[in-house]
């Protein structure tokens, strides 16, 4: 069991801004929470390749195809940095992946929405990666060393993701009436789900206080969401895009944009598995995992035989 002295000492280290490394003593619950959060983050990066991957073969130009391919490959990389980080906590990657494919592990709800047109690809880059940057910039300061370092690496790649989306959206918003309509329609569909990416309001987020106390997170869901909204209002205006919220108003006193009620019923139904694409996404991920099994086995067997041969030869 975690003794009070040890806990006290641990909290002291966190409060001093020290990083916790894999072999350091840590409370059992700190380890559990990290495994949960880090693996959820990893699963999200991986499943996040699907909505965008959906458009790779139908990109509007060779340039956009190369850009999208590179972006989606980065997301695979993010997943791998994060799995690698999670494994430092003494868990096996296979268990993490199978807990997600066949068990209860969750991933970000945002990836349970469909990508209906190429404008969705623009908007994902702008809004979804934009929100991810806000979140991950905070996580780059996380108290757990490997998680912090994985997020530093991720953040270096995210600004490309956001900028390519924003640039494309700006072009569409400045294009033909059809393009403008497509762009606005995609923003209308993605805006609210993106705001939900930051998680429930602080008052409904039971884990938040503990995660902040332990320095896993350094800002609350509502703080991050507000920061995001303030920035996006400005960026939307700059390219002539409207945000679908009639309640958006600037508060002179606080210096922040106030926004309307987030449709939380929708959020919870998507979390529970009833979003428009939940089943589809899980099906695609399981299929990839199961159809890849013979490759994993064959490569292992090949390596084993080669080792034997080398041993014989020497």
């Amino acid at each position: 069991m975690d003794s009070p002295e040890k806990l006290e000492e641990f909290q002291q280290r966190i409060d001093n801004g020290e990083k916790i490394e894999p072999k350091d003593w840590m409370p059992e619950r700190y380890r559990k929470q990290l495994i949960r959060i880090m693996s959820q983050h990893a699963h999200s990066e991986i499943v996040g390749m699907l909505p965008e991957g959906n458009w790779i073969t139908r990109a509007p130009s060779l340039k956009r195809k190369m850009v999208l391919l590179a972006k989606v490959q980065d997301e695979a990389g993010h997943g791998l940095y994060l799995y690698s980080g999670t494994e430092t906590l003494g868990v096996k990657r296979q268990d993490l992946v199978e807990d997600y494919l066949y068990g209860n592990a969750k991933y970000s709800s945002i990836f349970n929405y469909p990508t209906l047109t190429y404008a969705d690809i623009c908007v994902i880059g702008w809004l979804v990666d934009g929100a991810a940057i806000v979140n991950q910039t905070m996580l780059a300061k996380s108290s757990y060393g490997p998680y912090s370092r994985a997020n530093v690496r991720i953040c270096k790649e995210e600004s490309f993701h956001k900028k390519q989306g924003y640039e494309m959206l700006a072009k569409m918003a400045d294009g033909t009436p059809e393009q403008q309509k497509m762009a606005q329609d995609a923003v209308n569909r993605w805006w609210w789900p993106t705001l939900m990416m930051f998680g429930p309001h602080d008052t409904d987020s039971p884990n938040s206080a503990e995660l902040i106390k332990w320095g896993v997170k350094t800002k609350t869901n509502d703080e991050l969401r507000q920061h995001f909204v303030d920035r996006m209002v400005m960026e939307a205006e700059a390219i002539g895009i409207e945000l679908p919220d009639p309640d958006l108003t600037y508060n002179e006193e606080t210096g922040h944009w106030e926004f309307g009620d987030i449709p939380w019923d929708e959020f919870w139904s998507v979390v529970k598995g009833d979003g428009p694409m939940n089943r589809e996404r899980m099906k695609a991920r399981r299929k990839a995992y199961e159809e890849g099994e013979w490759v994993r086995e064959a490569a292992k067997e090949y390596a084993r035989k080669k080792r034997l041969q080398d041993e014989k030869a020497s």
Partner: protein, 101 residues
Amino acid sequence: MTKNSSENTEWPLWEVFYQPKDGKPFEHAGSVHAPDAELALQNARDTYARRNEGIAFWVVPSDQIVASSPEDQGPFFDPANDKPYRHPQFYSVPRAVKKRK
């Protein structure tokens, strides 16, 4: 559940070190799974150097890494703590020499 981890199809884990630039020391990047050393190097490149972050790699089976343990950190590094004479500040130099840096 149709799958469980009773059968282990996971490839071994390798720690990845990369040299960021010519002349720089190698740094730890993270880890990759791979069936052998050759694929470990390729996976390391695809995972950790998509933008030339590294110009050279080392991969080492993770179970071959030996690390000092944090519990012994005090006694382990103790011998270095009481030897100020290992630092140049420990010595005095004539003033005339000190001036010209």
